[in-house]
Amino acid sequence: MIEVHQGRLQTPFYARQKALDGLNQWHNWNGYTVPDALYCADHEYFAIRNATAVFDLSPMNKYRITGPDAYAFLDRLLTRDLSSLAVGRVAYAVWCDGAGQVIDDGTVFRLADEDFRLCCAGRHAAWFADSARGFDVDIVEETADIAALAVQGPTSFSVLERMGLDGLASLKPFAHREFSFGGRELLVSRTGFTGDLGYELWLEPSQAVSIWDALFRAGELTGIRAIGTEALALSRIEATFLEPGVDFLHADETVRQGRSRSPFELGLDWLVDFGKPVFNGRQALARERREGSTWQLVRLDIEGNKPAPDAYVYAKPGRDNIGFVTSAAWSPVCKQNIALATVKAPHGRIGSELWVEIYYQREMHWQKKMARATVTRGPFWNPERRRVTPPLPY
């Protein structure tokens, strides 16, 4: 009889994380079991902002795109201008369906002239295969073949340097480079989902344990911590990175009319390049540009300290609501009550004042509170150290 594995998969770092696990709180991410938190989400969050946090992002979907038309394929697939994506660089990008609605976002690594890696949340083999017609390109899903760790936080540079990554100092944000480690190649990119100084390590699963151990040895004196998804989720709201499935839905998974979003509606205008003669969604997006968008994603700074998850948003109290909050948190590092929300355009101009209706429960009974909110520009958390090259040592 053939045994079919039905349970959640374990990442190459599972054993090491399990050894540090004091909570036994795990969930499913893309078929793998991953921790919500390992000992305390709050402490793990402060490792991101004050020391070094290590997050296992092996379950992230990875696609390898190679061949003479690999660039042309991506150029037609993605909405953004890719011409500045040199070998050794990483670009954030979104891709759209024919209606100009965002299917997913992700990062594109240019590993060589005709060799790219695309990392994203969703599975898109079918869409990529459909989009590959007419291009001389090979697309392979390599999620299970590449283990990955995010090493994030103000001391992350020093930890990695101490681990033996010579020359890391010159690696600029959104750049990647191969380093020699333990006699083997290790790809390091200066990228992350925390909005802080940080790196991502891309390696073969067989290297996983030795690299984990070396990393934690090197970080022992600088507060290195393994973290779960809860801490990461808070830090990404502060950095105002969008989370697919939360702040927008994969367009190919929505059923109801109007539940998907265009790049414009997500505030990603800078990722749409009409200078390109053709890309998926171009015709629909050009129409939207002419006729106006329906929604606008906004960053809200809300008065008070009650987080506003799932809150309705109003232009004025007592009127019909104009939208809703998709992500919200009290930001410990910014000391701000922050949220990402979707409102009907043309509401949500930078600097305008909106109201959110915050719901909270006190001993079973629900309460609500109207709170003033300001639409702000840019990420809530965007420290200088994120960009400085070389990064400051600790």
């Binding site: 038309d69 042309a72 037609r76 697939l77 369906d97 024919g98 869409w127 459909d130 989009s131 017609r133 007419g134 291009f135 003669p277 053709v278 890309f279 998926n280 969604g281 171009r282 015709q283």
Partner: protein, 509 residues
């Protein structure tokens, strides 16, 4: 030095010709490029053997739109205006059909036949109104949608109900609900499936029948000089109107510059125009002439899945005299002769084709153009032309010479059952498989309607959703061939409608 034209039409098939004429009538400077050395595409009459001429593609006219021909000022005389049909019986007890009349062994069902045919004609007239204009889009095309709805409503309650019932119906069930004589049922079923990859039991095979009835109001005609004479007449008209017509000039590619069409390249020459209209089928146009990278994925995917594998072979025989046949007199040879012993026999012929095999017992629509038109063959001799089904484009093992010989033998065996001396009379023969049609006429899959006619590729969805109004999602690129609404058959409607759409867009700008 390159020249700029108001429009370039690729392919001087009948639709390309009609489109070019209509544009030239409006004062446009039109260049019409044809790969072959003669005009006509699949509406062409050629000498396949010394002194023997045959209409290589379409053999008769069912759907040529009088309104289109009138608008462009072309008249084509017929040698047979309303052709009769003889459904052959091996024992010579044939069923004869002409318009609404039935004679022969099925004559007892004449009233039922007349009723059904008249219903078909009423519904086909409604369809034909739609065929002479652009189909509506689903979004924001209220005026056209309303006109479609109104036309439907004006059919009256009874006919509207019948149309809605028949839209998804299969012809096998429909004829069995109405008739009993197998040859009568077979005649209707064969007309419903000729030229398609469907059998009588396939859903939607009533609509294909209605499609065939539209245009000439149910009449089948034989133009003087063959179907190619239509194309010749169109070409003469085009040239007279100033269309620059070049034959033997295959287009290598459609030039795209910065996201819009800028002209075509042909044999090292470049012709410039902001409007390029392709009379080639949708797949050939998009995948070969333009190139897939110039389009967005969803459109490409639809074009990729556009059903366009041909399933029809064409048999041409040069005969040293009329074949003998029980129960046929000489004038009967001026009719369409059908070989289809029953509706189930057609379905049985279709079955192997679903799995990549040709029919063991093929069914045929036969014409002998020389019987009414002595230009087609040397005196006393004749040409037999037959549409033979089924012959799948993707034959298992491929259309090798051996496969072609085997199928030719099968066809001759079938013919011999009705014309015992036929093999002895054959002076020359030619069998064109879908692969041959693809190579000779540049039609993807060798489908002579440039793609299946079925509910999924009809009106709003022909060739594909979102591109059914001739204009394709690349600035300056248009389709005008049988792959667009209202589809195949020698009708001229796609070409005419495409030209109208181009002129209308220009006016709006």
């Amino acid at each position: 030095m390159t020249e700029r034209y108001d429009a370039i039409v690729i392919g001087a098939g009948h639709n390309g010709l009609v489109c070019a004429i209509r544009l030239a009538q409006s004062g446009k400077r039109v260049l019409l490029l044809e790969a072959a050395n003669r005009v006509g595409g699949l509406a062409v009459t050629e000498e396949f053997h010394d002194g023997f001429w045959v209409s290589t593609g379409a053999q008769l006219l069912h759907q040529l739109q009088p309104a289109v021909m009138k608008a462009i000022g072309v008249r084509v005389p017929s040698v047979v205006e309303r052709m009769a049909t003889v459904v052959l019986a091996e024992d010579g007890d044939h069923v004869r059909l002409l318009d609404n009349d039935v004679s022969g062994p099925a004559s007892g069902e004449a009233a039922a036949f007349a009723e059904f045919r008249q219903l078909g004609l009423r519904l086909a007239r409604f369809l034909n109104q739609q065929f002479l204009r652009r189909p509506p889009r689903f979004d924001g095309d209220t005026r056209r949608l309303a006109r479609l709805g109104l036309g439907l409503r004006l059919l009256g309650k009874a006919d509207m109900r019948e149309l809605l019932r028949l839209v998804g119906q299969n012809m096998h069930d429909e004829v069995n609900a109405r008739f009993s004589h197998p040859l009568l049922k077979a005649a209707i079923c064969l007309d419903a499936v000729t030229g398609t990859h469907t059998g009588p039991r396939s859903p939607g095979s009533v609509v294909t029948w209605l499609h065939r009835l539209a245009g000439q109001d149910g009449a089948v005609s034989q133009p003087a000089g063959g179907v190619g004479a239509v194309s010749e007449a169109l070409a003469a008209r085009a040239v007279k109107l100033g269309v620059e017509l070049r034959t033997g000039q295959p287009v290598d590619r459609i030039v795209v510059d910065n996201g819009r069409v800028a002209g075509v390249e042909s044999g090292g020459e470049r012709f410039e125009s902001w409007t390029v209209i392709s009379n080639a089928d949708p797949k050939t146009t998009v995948q070969r002439l333009v190139g897939e990278r110039h389009f967005e994925t969803p459109y490409l995917k639809r074009i990729h899945h556009y059903r366009s594998d041909g399933n029809v072979a064409k048999l041409h025989l040069a005969l040293d005299g009329l074949p003998e046949a029980a129960g046929l007199d000489d004038t009967d040879f001026q009719s369409r002769l059908l070989i289809a012993p029953g509706e189930d026999a057609i379905e049985a012929a279709f079955n192997p084709a679903k799995y990549g095999e040709f029919s063991a017992d093929p069914v045929m629509e036969i014409s002998l153009p020389s019987a009414a038109d002595d230009r087609c063959a040397p005196e006393g001799q004749h040409v037999l032309s037959a549409i033979v089904q089924y012959a799948p484009y993707r034959l298992a093992g491929g259309w090798t010479d051996d496969a072609r010989d085997r199928y030719t033998d099968l066809c001759l065996q079938t013919l011999s059952r009705y014309f015992p001396d036929i093999s002895r009379r054959v002076v020359a023969l030619e069998l064109m498989t879908p692969v041959d049609i693809e190579h000779r006429f540049g039609v993807y899959g060798g489908h002579w309607h440039h793609g299946e006619i079925g509910l999924d590729q009809f009106m709003f969805t022909r060739p594909v959703v979102g591109a059914s109004q001739y204009r394709q999602p690349l600035d300056g690129l248009w389709l005008c061939g049988a792959g667009t609404h209202p589809g195949g058959g020698v009708s001229g409607a796609p070409g005419y409608n495409a030209a109208e759409a181009i002129l209308e867009l220009e006016q709006r700008r």
